[in-house]
Symmetry: C2
Subunit: 380 residues, 2 copies
């Protein structure tokens, strides 16, 4: 590829040109017409849809058609559990929550404690399961429907998935998964098998499955789309998001291995303030004088981007912020303060909901309406 950016499921490098990426990946743009069609059903559009944070798709038009015709669809997303989630990790969950609320559909959330353990030499299974418990609290805090959501860990739900997984696995060769998942002959045999367990939930119902996720995950689902119909299921549909830029600059994506690139859900108000003030990459000018004269550049300013993509839902307010910043009326420090306040308010509420989530783990994993149904089902 001759572009100066690259996007794979395991690395995002450079300033991503999302229009080019749609062409490279062969996905579809979410057009104004498609948004109108969604709005007809949902009444309004989520901020991440209005502002093209979710910008690309595969078969979203077919999902809507199925919905309109009464066939329905279901949602699927997941997480490789880690020591603490950051703001970027919440993007697909928050948007998925909105979809579930508006379409009243089932949602399956796979927690890949097995994958995380097998992929990381330094982690024990006990650790990734502790991460799983911890991340599940953050996920529940997003506010999913307890009757329509099933959160499951691979090491626990494997019995119910394994027969289906063997059928999927039988259709995927090492050569095929090797390239897609970035594996080597020196990769361990557990991580080689894992794609079958990632694909299995797309076949939990005989309806179309819609997966909201970062566009970097798209290659994984191409394998599913290659084999789904031969097993009597639908090709998984997807709705793709852009990457919330790392604090440190407009290139790449947030990384757990670079702590200053992200705001963690556990960061306290002081830490948030310090991180944003110190690290948030600014589109402003070097001095107040120059800034007043030439204005800031919101396109590369991470604080502005975070407000635009996530934290300032009011269209009039974000427009005003953009104009004031671009004109030089608003200084970088002021812009950052807006983000700090928004972030801390969001995190405070999130942490309260996270506390309440402790009482709900059992519901989402075992005892809720959908969860109970799922534990009684063997996927064949």
């Amino acid at each position: 590829m001759s572009s100066n950016f690259s996007v794979t499921p395991w690395e995002v490098k450079g300033k991503v040109d999302y229009d080019k990426l749609i062409v490279q990946f062969g996905t579809q743009k979410i057009t104004p017409e498609l948004k109108e069609r969604i709005k007809k059903i949902t009444g309004d559009l989520h901020v991440m849809l209005r502002r093209d944070v979710f910008f690309s798709h595969r078969d979203l038009d077919l999902v809507l058609k199925d919905y309109e015709e009464g066939k329905g669809f279901f949602l699927y997303t997941g997480r490789a559990p880690s020591l603490g989630m950051h703001i970027g990790h919440l993007v697909p969950f928050i948007f998925t929550k909105w979809l579930q609320e508006k379409f009243k559909v089932n949602l399956y959330i796979e927690i890949t404690d097995d994958e995380k353990f097998m992929r990381n030499p330094e982690l024990t299974l006990e650790q990734t399961r502790q991460f799983a418990y911890d991340n599940i609290l953050d996920i529940i805090a997003v506010g999913f429907d307890p009757d329509r959501t099933f959160i499951f860990q691979d090491t626990e739900y494997i019995r119910n998935m394994y027969p289906l997984a063997t059928k999927i696995a039988k259709k995927l060769t090492f050569s095929e998964v090797k390239a897609t998942f970035g594996l080597e002959n020196s990769s361990n045999i557990g991580i080689i098998f894992y794609p079958a367990l990632q694909i299995a939930p797309t076949m939990f119902e005989k309806k179309r499955c819609l997966i909201p996720a970062g566009i970097d995950q798209d290659p994984y689902w191409r394998l599913q789309r290659d084999i789904a119909e031969s097993l009597g299921y639908y090709k998984a549909a997807q709705i793709h998001s852009k990457f919330l830029p790392p604090l440190t600059g407009p290139e790449g994506k947030m990384s757990s291995s670079i702590p200053e690139s992200a705001i963690y859900l556990t960061d306290d108000p002081k830490t948030v303030e310090r991180k944003i003030m110190k690290y948030a990459f600014s589109g402003g000018q070097p001095t107040v004088e120059l800034h007043r004269k030439y204005g800031g550049n919101p396109e590369i300013d991470v604080s502005f981007q975070w407000l635009y993509m996530f934290f300032e839902e009011d269209d009039n307010k974000i427009k005003k912020i953009e104009e004031d910043y671009r004109s030089g009326k608003m200084l970088t420090g002021e812009l950052k303060q807006i983000l700090i306040d928004k972030l801390n308010k969001f995190l405070e509420e999130h942490r309260a909901k996270r506390e309440e989530a402790k009482e709900l783990v059992n519901t989402f994993k075992y005892e809720g309406k959908l969860a109970k149904e799922m534990w009684n089902k063997i996927h064949e």
Copy 2:
């Protein structure tokens, strides 16, 4: 290898030189001293041990030491379910039954319905599970202790094994299993993962595991021996059998894909008679006259070998048969008739026990003493 035979887990070719094989594989011969040590515990020696059908081992001396010191050990064997078992398939089970009876130890029998399905393009999972039920009846008919035996199918018991299997899988690379299991880059990812599930039962208890099996299976267990101690378990010990020769001649081993090479457990008396008379490779002379003059060669005579290795347990009787056949006093037809009678008696009894086994499936799989314990255990 310059030998004119070859033994791998997926093919046995030529007339096997078992002494050479011990050197090639790096296993130990079962010495007269070792047999004496077993006899001290068991009181007698099983015919397959007396006559060196079980002839080679790894760490059998350590197993006996553990037993003598009161630490104990456990037995593990298994089967990839197939459409109908033949006489050769019973060899390890019959010997295992004797070991269990004499040492009063737990036995785990893994039925790899997943592996069989994933390895064979033409089979469905529903078929391999039907085979599993069918083969389990034949296995139960051998007469294992229902309190000390747990028979389990991978697709059912996976939840209990999977956490342990992920730990095993993490230690095995594709390169390592590729050579051992005869895999390719075009192999499917399910069969690549399967070795982890084959190894898991060797770690069901924190005792030494003894595996009775054909010596061709030895390479599989070398992988286990490479990683077991790093996971806190013992290297699997093994006791290896020779191959009951195919009816068609003294080379190779019985094959389900060559029906005339084997006697099936479902073959009726007429079929047995016809197959032995027609196909059983003879060490006799071309005419009665020449046979009376030069005698037969029991070493290459399949009927004699089957009697020696399996069906004639009486040492005096087998000696007499050997002498009479070698001298020319006994004709090939007479020798074959002895085998036919023995075989039909064995099969008649087996089929009666197989009928009774239908009432015992639930016990061995779910409700027996050991089975119940195992279903309450998650192997970590």
